[in-house]
């Protein structure tokens, strides 16, 4: 009755093709900006795309709410024609919801990712997020249901955390592969590892080796602690994975995959531009927090960051930036190009 046909997959937008081919075509692993609840909204996604990120995720969207509630849909998912390749990540605990969810988002994205890694108690209690890695049968039934319905017309990924006993993770991955998932992303931390503890690349390596042994060339994405361009190569080399997903790295510096060691000022200009261009009711605090992360990464002096955090509205924030720095607009020559910020003269009293 409604057109739920998935968007056609071409070389330019098929995430599986991109993950499998970047090493050959671009001499580097595929680059992915992973999901962040609240943060990975359209303006941020577009900013990542402007800096060589191949594939971008939405934040986790709860299927249960999305298929039942218009307001949840309005606030959880907005997109546009430039927002591709896009993986819509879903938090889900039953087959009925994921099938409905897939029907509703498939025409507007390039793949669906199942969140099997979120450690937040409220979700785990519902059997969502990393609860799923302790429930292989359920993950498999979710994957199978979607793949049996859509086959190769819709890409499906699972993003997992590791178990304390890696054999459990390996067994899980084999089952996920048998169920038809197109690729697996492995976040090299257990459910209880703090994000301040370094990611366990050896674990990802072991699991990846077992996966590739089981199914040669099966695509695997490594996730955890990719903060710089060199990490992209190191992580992929150590783990023998096809692609690397960065999350906190791109939050602080969306340009990291273009070998900027810190966030360039031009990236701030670009992010601000998209934030105003695509603002569809994005809360001010979210916009402000993105700028906080980027400016902290650029090592903007602390007293200025404090001033940034004291602004209360979009317009106040823009006035503060214009008083403090030179902020180019999209039509200004050199927009988005500068590396260092240009400070305005301190106002004479």
């Amino acid at each position: 009755m409604y057109n739920t046909t998935p968007k056609p997959l071409l070389k330019e937008n098929d995430p599986l093709y991109i993950i499998q081919s970047r090493k050959t075509t671009h001499n580097r692993p595929a680059t992915i900006a992973g999901p962040m609840v609240r943060y990975s909204k359209l303006p941020f996604r577009q900013t990542c795309r402007d800096y060589s990120v191949d594939i971008v995720y939405t934040p986790m969207i709860l299927a249960r709410e999305f298929v039942r509630n218009k307001n949840a849909r309005l606030s959880d998912f907005s997109t546009n024609s430039k927002d591709t390749p896009l993986i819509v990540q879903v938090g889900v605990n039953n087959v009925s919801d994921i099938l409905k969810f897939a029907d509703m988002v498939a025409p507007y994205c390039d793949g669906i990712g199942i969140n099997c890694g979120c450690p937040i108690k409220e979700q785990v209690r519902e059997g969502i997020g990393c609860a799923l890695i302790y429930n292989p049968d359920l993950i498999c039934s979710l994957v199978k249901a979607v793949k049996e319905k859509y086959h190769d017309k819709l890409r499906l990924e699972t993003k997992i955390r590791i178990h304390d006993d890696l054999n459990q993770t390996i067994e899980l991955c084999k089952k996920i592969i048998d169920s038809g998932a197109d690729w697996i992303t492995i976040h090299g931390r257990t459910r209880t590892t703090r994000s301040s503890t370094p990611v366990n690349l050896e674990a990802i390596k072991t699991i990846t080796a077992a996966i590739k042994d089981y199914k040669p060339n099966y695509p695997v994405v490594a996730n955890g602690d990719c903060f710089q361009y060199k990490d992209l190569f190191e992580i992929s080399k150590i783990t023998n994975t096809d692609a690397v997903m960065s999350v906190r790295g791109v939050l602080a510096n969306p340009s990291l995959f273009e070998n900027h060691l810190k966030c360039p000022w031009g990236c701030i200009e670009i992010f601000i531009n998209w934030s105003f261009e695509y603002n569809n009711g994005i809360p001010f605090q979210l916009f402000q927090h993105h700028l906080f992360c980027m400016m902290e990464n650029m090592m903007i002096p602390k007293h200025l960051i404090k001033q940034l955090m004291e602004t209360r509205t979009y317009s106040q924030l823009i006035d503060w930036i214009d008083e403090t720095f030179i902020l180019k607009r999209i039509d200004d020559p050199g927009f988005g190009q500068s590396i260092e910020p240009t400070y305005r003269q301190i106002k004479s009293i």
């Binding site: 298929v67 849909r73 546009n80 519902e126 990393c130 304390d164 257990t190 603002n279 009711g281 317009s315």
Partner: protein
């Protein structure tokens, strides 16, 4: 498909005692395994390690069809914000007339128009958008902050226009 029998929910801890307990120094981190009560509607039972069970209501076919109708015909899929969509002032006027402005999300969407004009230094447009919006929302209770921003932009625009 019939309704499958509800089997006893098991926590993952029962499946593998030491999969994630002592190693990280925290105990009793049991994980819920939802049990499907009705696979058609998605009604499920989530049961905690404590034994407490909660039912998550399913969605009937009619309810889902109604959501599909809303989503595909009224909402036209997810919200799409293409570059320059806010250049369309008629669009703003139409939304101003049709949207329920007592809903915060709707007000924020409209406020984005003058905010963008302000950022782009289109002060004359911004001032007009602010005036229209203020007229519509000024009597809504508890939106002091929003009104303040609109008035702030309006004043700044007048100041800047007077200097041109």
């Amino acid at each position: 498909m019939g309704i499958p029998e509800v089997t006893e929910a098991i926590s993952a801890q029962d499946v593998n005692e030491d999969s994630f307990t002592k190693l990280n120094g925290r105990k009793n981190q049991s994980v819920t395994k939802p049990v499907t009560v009705d696979s058609e509607t998605g009604e499920i039972l989530v049961r905690r390690a404590t034994g407490k069970a909660r039912v998550r209501r399913g969605q009937t076919e009619e309810e889902y069809n109604e959501q599909l109708r809303q989503y595909f015909t009224e909402e036209n899929g997810p919200t799409r914000t293409e570059p320059n969509f806010m250049d369309n002032v008629n669009d703003f006027d139409e939304k101003l007339d049709t949207m329920d402005l007592s809903i915060k999300q709707n007000r924020l969407r409209l406020q984005a128009y003058p905010q963008r004009a302000y950022y782009r230094r289109n002060y004359s447009i911004c001032k007009d958008l602010c005036s229209k919006l203020i007229l519509k929302v000024k009597d809504i209770p508890k939106i002091q902050r929003e009104l303040e921003e609109l008035e702030y932009m309006q004043n700044q625009c007048m100041l800047r226009l007077s200097k041109e």
